[in-house]
Amino acid sequence: MLKAYSDLHRPLVILLAFLLAFPVSITATDQRAEERAAMVTEQIIARGIKDSTTLAALRSVPRHVFVPAAQRPYAYQDRPLPIGYGQTISQPFMVAYMTELINPGPGRKVLEIGTGSGYQAAILAAAGAEVFSIEIIPQLAEAAGKRLAALGYGGVALRVADGYYGWAEQAPFDAIIVTAAAEFIPPPLLEQLAEGGLIVIPVGSPYYVQTLMLVQKREGKPYSTSLMPVRFVPFTRTSE
């Protein structure tokens, strides 16, 4: 597990690490705050996301730090971006939508399957949730761990492992976000979900169209809901 910087001097250590390792990023972060605010207004609020905690988290986390240097100019555009190893950082709206769905906040325990760049974990952490994240590709996990630590989200617990088994020691979870597209939901994840808890899974390719599936555990039994993309209107009216 890559758990970093949890002592009392954490802010100072983070600041030093940030200044040493990312001298350019800190300036860039400030410079791009306006872009981030515009992203939230134009791409997120405009499409119906209202949760103030989610919106605040999106305004605070510098998305451009989570993408490869070549992709930084596009970091605040309305699209997913490649991060290597065939993985992507999701479209900002998709991150916002998933975050709002699970209603993160202080005291909420969230498991993320597929850390990727670490952006979703940072958003959840910024929203106040206790975040556990599993990544199967060691290189992605290592880079995400460093990034999260440098930005002050060292409280995010990271593990390099097969997400199929979840994180039994920390179960039950109030919510589980599965960011890796799957043709099935691993049974251990359903077992590790708290009563009333939610699993959110994006379905489909990030580059084309993604819908979300929501699974809720009620009286020990899982019930799923296929959510249509928010911008879509029900499709029957044209054929009737």
Binding site: A70, Q71, Y74, D78, R79, P80, L81, P82, G84, Y85, G86, I136, I137, P138, D162, Y164, A181, A182, E183, F184, I185, P186, P187, L190, E191, V203, G204, S205, Y207, Y208, V209, Q210, T211, M213, V215, K221, P222, Y223, S224, T225, S226, L227, M228, P229, R231, F232, V233, P234, F235, T236, T238, S239
Partner: protein
């Protein structure tokens, strides 16, 4: 020109023509493996315009080039050989960073794509320029030259496929280079020392590429690449194949179960995954019986309704359905899969790991196209299982232009006839949004039932999980026990009942709720004839059942409703734009623009009457387009008939090319004959094909493979012979009347062949293959009309 020189040049035509065609075949597989296969098609289409570039260059500088033909020919052939061997290595260094999947997110990739296409154009341009020089300088011997060219191409097609079947694909480009170099060697007698030195240097270069060649760099988004990034992933099988390169990979974390029930609490054992050209085909089942997770998917519905004893599994692939059937105690399972190498390797693997799904005596495997099997087999089955449709979350129309002959109305009618009186037909589709696949599938099944006089609702059971929908239709109405069994099965695994006699509405959207419930309303509408017709007419997507003539099951886009779709979905999210169609349309557009430029450019240098040039354009353009459309329509027709898609395509192409070569040779006997006589004859023969080919093939499909191949050759040869004649006769005519138009005419023919191929699929999607063949006949008719006028003038 001496007779000996003419002979040398004729000999030289053969290997270079073979090398260029074999290279096309190898390139298609290499690029389809490393990149998104649509871009392989796009890159190669652009590269093939090298033929047009060569024609234009020759038309613009005909005098200069022909005056130096003896020197230029071997040099061009050397350049062709070296670029055949090395261009792929060169672009591999680009492809290391280029990724076709990123084209929509990184504009810089378009530039890399263009550079790659232009680099690959080099061998085609050099080779085509050499061919063009020989054609132009020996126009009176064009019959025998064209013979060598067509025969070489036909043999090259066979060599390319043989190479893919037996050798690593990356070895083929240098081998093609060596083959092309033989053409340069054929021209060595009497050549200058410098030319010989150049040939030797080229030989050294090509040989070097034989030993130092890059492997295939997989895009990071290819399924195979992503799987290999997983910890512990290991390739256990890697085999070349004409059906696509085969890889089998194991990894401790690889698991599979299609839209598994949320109530499954059993183990999910890891299972090896199979990839064809880098795309995942499926997983090899590692457990059979109660522990098989597939028992908790909607695909298991038919086994909940009954205990079928004799089962037919079509497109059996990695045997997931076979494992399900075995686990439910079927006594006899017939599994059909066309990928021979896949079957061979799965059996080999099974014998090592003692996997009963392949070694069970209850299973009989047949290597044949499922559709051909359906047409030829006379057995009756208790259950026929069709392959799953689509993928999780849909595929954004990536496969819109893929033919799916097993999902046409005619295919389902054939399957229906193979069922025992109480037999079942089952098929599972992933649910897409907005709904398309489930609706088209249901519409096909309902129309099938209605045609047999059945009331659809009494015969269909359909269950829905969070991701899939399985339809199971029975020949006789479902009885109360079966209805109860379907309900119990749904309840057991928390599936919802999409269709079942007497089901309450509440149970249709209970465990797996839909935020947009229109799917259920649309399903209901599809069941009723009048509402279904209204749906066909008004629904923004095309959901009418597909036919053998237009077997594009995954193509739903209706251009006439695009305004409605934009209004519905807005412009930011475009899930309805089918990427397969988009790329094909883009390719057609790019090729048309480039071809127009290449065709128009030589006009600045051509003298003579504009009317004559217009007739040349229509005559040779018509031949180019017509030939290509005939080729593609025939490949489609014979795919069902022969039963192995790759081999039937190879057979059609080889017979057409070799037949045309013979036709071209025959024109030496009547070199003064008017070309339009043969274009008219081609029009008549092709029109006859449109009317008679279907019934002929239908009534003889039960013949043995040998007889079918013989009949296919007999049917194709007349058209091939006739279609090979107008081009050499036309060139000869131009040689006597407008000699300076010969290179231009040849270039037009090359350009429009490529453009014609690009439009062929788009036409087939919109109108069907019969219309494509009719249009091909029309192209020959057009050439007839204008050839006639050309000859009258010339005679005068």
């Amino acid at each position: 020109m001496t007779q000996r020189l003419t002979l040398y040049r004729q000999i030289a035509l053969f290997p270079v023509s073979a090398a260029l065609l074999a290279f096309q075949i190898a390139l298609l597989q290499i690029l389809a493996t490393s990149q998104w296969h649509h871009f392989a098609y796009l890159v190669i289409s652009i590269a093939l315009l090298g033929f047009g570039v060569a024609g234009t260059a020759l038309a613009l500088a005909r005098g200069w080039i022909l005056a130096r033909a003896s020197l230029l020919l071997p040099l061009l052939l050397c350049a062709c050989a070296v670029t055949l061997a090395g261009s792929l290595s060169f672009i591999e260094s680009l492809f290391g960073s280029f990724d076709s999947y990123l084209l929509f997110v990184n504009p810089g990739e378009a530039l890399r794509l263009a550079v790659s296409a232009l680099t690959l154009m080099l061998p085609f341009t050099c080779g085509a320029l050499a061919i063009g020089i020989i054609f132009t300088s020996g126009a009176e011997q064009i019959g025998s030259h064209y013979f060598a060219n067509m025969l070489g191409s036909g043999i090259g097609c066979a060599l390319g496929l043989a190479g893919l079947a037996n050798l690593p694909a990356t070895l083929l480009p240098p081998l093609c280079g060596l083959l092309a170099l033989l053409s340069a060697v054929a021209l060595l007698p009497g050549s200058k020392r410098s030319v010989r030195g150049c040939v030797l240097l080229s030989l050294a270069g090509v040989t070097l590429f034989l030993f130092v060649r890059p492997g295939i760099t997989l895009s990071q988004y290819k399924d195979l690449r992503k799987t290999l990034d997983l910890p512990g992933a290991e390739i256990i099988v890697e085999e070349p194949s004409t059906f696509g390169q085969l890889h089998i990979v194991t990894a401790p974390v690889l698991r599979s179960a299609t839209a598994l029930s949320l109530l499954w609490l059993g183990e999910m054992p890891s299972s090896p995954a199979v990839f064809i050209n880098g795309d995942m085909l499926g997983s090899i089942p590692s457990v059979i019986g109660r522990k098989n997770p597939m028992n908790a998917t909607t695909s298991a519905l038919p086994f909940a309704l009954a205990s079928p004893e004799r089962i037919l599994v079509l497109n059996a692939g990695t045997a997931q359905h076979v494992a399900l059937a075995l686990g439910h105690g079927a006594e006899e399972i017939v599994a059909v899969e066309s990928h021979r190498v896949l079957l061979r390797e799965l059996f080999k693997l099974a014998s090592e790991q003692n996997a009963s799904v392949f070694t069970s005596e209850r299973v009989t495997w047949h290597s044949e196209a499922s559709r051909t099997w359906l047409a030829r087999d006379t057995t009756r089955y208790d259950l026929i299982m069709l392959p799953d449709i689509g993928s999780s979350g849909g595929n954004a129309g990536l496969f819109a232009l893929h033919e799916q002959p097993l999902l046409t109305k005619q295919a389902l009618q054939q399957a229906w006839q193979k069922l025992t009186p109480g037999g079942y037909l089952s098929v599972t589709t992933w649910i897409d949004y907005p709904a398309r696949s489930p609706l088209r599938l249901l519409a096909t099944l309902v129309e099938l039932l209605e045609e047999t006089g059945a009331e659809p609702t009494e015969h269909i059971a359909a269950l829905r999980s969070w991701g899939t929908l399985t339809f199971c239709i029975k020949k006789t109405p479902l009885d109360s026990d079966e209805i109860a069994a379907a309900r119990n099965f749904a309840e057991r695994w928390a599936f919802d009942t999409a269709l079942l006699t007497g089901i309450a509405d509440a149970k249709r959207d209970y465990y797996n709720q839909l935020q947009d419930t229109s799917l259920l309303e649309l399903i209901d509408a599809t069941l009723l004839k009048e509402r279904r017709q209204a749906l066909y007419r008004d629904y923004p997507f095309r959901i009418v059942p597909t036919s053998d003539d237009r077997p594009f099951f995954s193509q739903f886009l209706r251009w006439s409703r695009i305004d409605l779709l934009l209004e519905q979905f807005g412009q930011r999210t475009v899930p309805f734009i089918e990427l397969g169609v988009l790329v094909a349309g883009l390719a057609a557009l790019i090729l048309t623009v480039l071809a127009v430029i290449l065709v128009l450019l030589p006009l600045v240098r051509l003298s003579g009457e504009p009317g004559s040039r217009f007739r040349t354009l229509l005559f040779f353009g018509g031949l180019g387009v017509g030939y290509m459309w005939v080729e593609l329509a025939m490949i489609h027709r014979f795919e069902f008939y022969i039963g192995q898609p790759v081999y039937s395509a190879a057979l059609v192409v080889a017979v057409l090319l070799i037949g045309s070569a013979l036709g071209s040779m025959l024109t030496e006997q009547f070199s003064n004959e008017k070309p339009q006589r043969f274009t008219t004859l081609a029009f008549i023969v092709l029109t006859t094909y449109v009317l008679t080919l279907g019934p002929i093939l239908q009534s003889t499909i039960h013949f043995s493979l040998f007889s079918r191949v013989a009949l296919a050759i007999a049917v194709l040869i007349p058209a091939a012979l006739i279609m090979g004649m107008p081009f050499p006769l036309g060139i000869r005519l131009l040689n006597r009347t407008s000699r300076n138009e010969i290179p231009w005419a040849w270039g037009i023919n090359g350009c429009l062949s490529v453009v014609g191929a690009a439009f062929a699929t788009l036409i087939a999607v919109e109108t069907g293959y019969s219309i494509l063949l009719l249009l091909a006949a029309g192209a020959y008719f057009l050439a007839s009309l204008f050839g006639l006028r050309c000859t009258v003038k010339d005679d005068g």
